[in-house]
């Protein structure tokens, strides 16, 4: 396990390096004068000249990359729109995003795993049909449509929840009221997908020979399901959660837009419209790092539950 962890952590370094190169490379594709791109169209000729020097814009790609990263980390890279250090701008919006993302992740896992297990055990029951149909809709409905429907129902018609916006920290009543709908909307797709995976892997696993062994031992049925089958099902579920996290990011951008949630996703989208390329770079880079780290945690969790990895 230690080996595995170390190997994973070491892999992180080249991965992050290549990711930043790739993002930098993509943004380099922007047509036009890169100095104008970095400063915005209203920049003076003097400032442009200064920027060309600062970012080594006349040097080869790798020098530019090094300069860019250096400026990014020292806070010299400034958002055109906010006129502020890109890292700071992103970090300010990070808390709402994390609140939304983590709540949705937790909610999805907390609902989908029990639902999937019950569906698999009570196969072809009403519960199974209901949850599977819901899950099918869940993976087919666009995040923003769920959001709009909920806003219509709870904010426009029933007027019990605020239609949009951020109500402060999620540990306050107001914050929580604002969080409920976006968090549910964001978690819905993942919930659906994880429920399906949980159910199908449980159904597969319940056919396994070792489940028969456990039953032949006289193990109680709920123990057979939770201890013997579910422990094994955790592996495919963890893989699926890992895959779903990328979708969670996409969902988060959409959810933040629907609910006017002041998060990093919306910041990034707005940055595109504002032609704020440094901010786009910052948002994409920081979110990618978060994504990589979350995936690393999923991988490590996978290592913990899989003895083949743990003991090699």
């Amino acid at each position: 396990m230690l080996n595995y962890t170390i190997r994973r952590l070491l892999l992180l370094i080249p991965l992050l390096f290549f990711i930043s190169v790739m993002i930098f490379g993509i943004l380099k594709l922007t047509p036009g004068d890169p100095a104008v791109v970095l400063l915005g169209e209203r920049a003076t000729e003097e400032a442009l000249e200064l920027t060309r020097e600062k970012y080594a814009l006349n040097s080869p790609f790798y020098v530019q990359y090094v300069k860019m990263m250096g400026n990014f980390f020292t806070g010299e890279l400034k958002s055109i729109y906010y006129k502020e250090n890109v890292i700071m701008v992103v970090l300010k919006k990070m808390i709402p995003t994390l609140e939304l993302g983590l709540t949705a992740l937790m909610l999805a896992i907390a609902v989908s795993i029990p639902a999937g297990i019950i569906s698999s055990v009570k196969r072809n029951s009403i519960f199974d049909y209901t949850s599977m149909t819901t899950a099918l809709f869940g993976i087919s409905i666009p995040v923003f449509f769920t959001g709009i429907l909920l806003i219509y129902l709870f904010a426009v018609k029933l007027k019990v929840l605020p239609a949009s916006g951020y109500g402060g920290s999620m540990f306050t009543i107001e914050g929580l009221r604002h969080l409920v709908m976006p968090a549910f909307v964001l978690s819905f797709t993942m919930m659906a997908s994880t429920t399906r995976i949980t159910r199908s892997s449980m159904l597969d696993l319940l056919q396994e020979d070792y489940i028969r062994t456990a039953r032949a031992k006289g193990v109680k049925e709920n123990q057979v399901i939770l201890k013997h089958a579910f422990k094994n099902a955790l592996m495919p579920i963890a893989t699926n959660v890992g895959n779903q996290i990328a979708r969670l990011f996409a969902g988060a951008v959409l959810t933040e837009t629907v609910f006017a949630w002041p998060g990093v996703g919306r910041l990034a989208v707005n940055a595109i419209f504002r032609r704020d390329e440094p901010l786009v770079f910052g948002c994409v880079l920081i979110l990618s790092v978060i994504y990589v780290v979350v995936n690393l945690m999923v991988d490590l969790f996978y290592g913990i539950i899989n003895p083949r990895i743990r003991y090699e």
Binding site: L15, F18, I19, M22, I23, I26, L27, K28, L29, T30, P31, L136, F137, I139, S140, I141, P142, V143, F144, F145, I148, L149, I151, Y152, V156, I245, A246, F249, A250, V253, L254, T257, V258, G265, A268, V269, A271, I272, F273, E277, V280, F281, C283, V284, L287, S288, Y291, V292, N295
Partner: protein, 342 residues
């Protein structure tokens, strides 16, 4: 079996050849979408015909080939059949859109703003007096056309990379797979944002990005099966008698990988359509005034208090399309995956 596989590959190539034209910037999008739809419908019709033919065979008939078994499984699967019918209907609606509705989706009618259901505007009008039904039909056309195009391209590129990695192994394999891993390590939405920020928005770019989104999944599956097939004696035999690599790949390797490709492709159409709708919702996908389901919803949200139809209609449409593709994909998977049983 072999015949069916040949037909499938044949379709794949035709579709890809036609669809490649779509991303060429000069192409008239509308004209192309007619082409796509004609083709899509033709394929769906052929599939349903095949299924109909196989449905008539009763249970005691001895099944001759794997292909026949697959068709029968698909025909037996009621939800898959139903979803296919819905998809055919939607395709027809989209193709015949100009003949079904008298309204131009772009035509604004300032005298009929935000109206409800009426005999002249079947699903009402939006905030600019445009006919929602007409916009919806054209939205379906764009969503399905671009969705299918993107998935086909995605499949082709992914398959190509997987083939190269799996067949040549060694350094080629290493380079391709490492690059894909890095590509995969950035969530798709962020890549899309970066590319849109750099290059601006547009249908060509949209298709380009979406068709590069899911490469890893395809490449991995193909690489895996190629590596297995590569070891088979008949591939070695083909090499020994001096058959070219290209030929070996086409004749011996692709037919063996076709069913996982089909399963993955049919399962990813729904998701791709969702992604495109999402990007359009954000304003990064299909640009107004061209009608898109995602864009209509984004517009609809602003008028949620006044006109619910503006949100409900495109929302339900997306749901219906994606649901049908998902059910169809599930059916294809069930039919192909368990084909070796029984």
């Amino acid at each position: 079996m072999n015949n069916i596989l040949k037909i499938k590959t044949f379709y794949l190539f035709i579709i890809s050849a036609l669809l490649l034209a779509v991303i060429s910037p000069k192409a008239e999008i509308d004209y192309i979408s007619y082409g796509i739809f004609a083709l899509l419908t033709l394929i769906i019709l052929l599939i349903s015909l095949a299924i109909y033919r196989h449905k008539k065979i009763n249970a005691t008939t001895i099944i001759k080939g794997t292909g026949e078994l697959v068709w029968r499984r698909l025909a037996k699967n009621r939800t898959a059949t139903a979803s296919m019918i819905i998809l055919i209907l939607l395709s027809f609606l989209a193709i015949l859109a100009p003949f079904i509705t008298p309204h131009d989706p772009l035509e604004t009618d300032w005298g009929a703003l935000s109206q409800g259901i009426s005999s002249s505007h079947w699903l009402g009008t939006d905030d600019m007096g445009r006919d929602i039904f007409a916009r919806n039909l054209f939205g379906i056309r764009v969503a399905m056309g671009i969705g299918v195009t993107a998935v086909v391209l995605n499949t082709l590129i992914g398959t190509l990379l997987g083939l190269l990695a799996g067949y040549y192994g060694g350094k080629t394999d290493n380079v391709i797979m490492r690059l894909l891993e890095i590509w995969n390590a950035i969530p798709f939405i962020l890549l899309a944002i970066a590319v849109m920020a750099a290059l601006g928005t547009g249908i060509g770019k949209l298709i380009l990005i979406v068709s590069l989104s899911n490469l890893m999944a395809f490449a991995r599956i193909i690489r895996g099966s190629v590596m297995t097939v590569r070891e088979f004696d008949y591939v070695a035999a083909a090499k020994v008698i001096g058959i070219k690599d290209f030929h070996i790949i086409i004749r011996h390797i692709i037919p063996n990988c076709i069913s996982p490709i089909l399963v993955l492709a049919s399962l990813s159409i729904g998701e791709t359509i969702l992604v495109i709708a999402g990007l359009s919702f954000l304003g990064l996908g299909i640009q107004p005034p061209m009608p898109s389901l995602g864009g209509m919803l984004s517009n609809g949200q602003q008028f949620l208090h006044e006109n619910l139809l503006m949100s409900i209609v495109p929302g339900v449409t997306i749901l219906l399309i994606v649901l049908s593709f998902n059910l169809f994909g599930d059916g294809v998977r069930d039919a192909l995956d368990s084909r070796l049983e029984s």
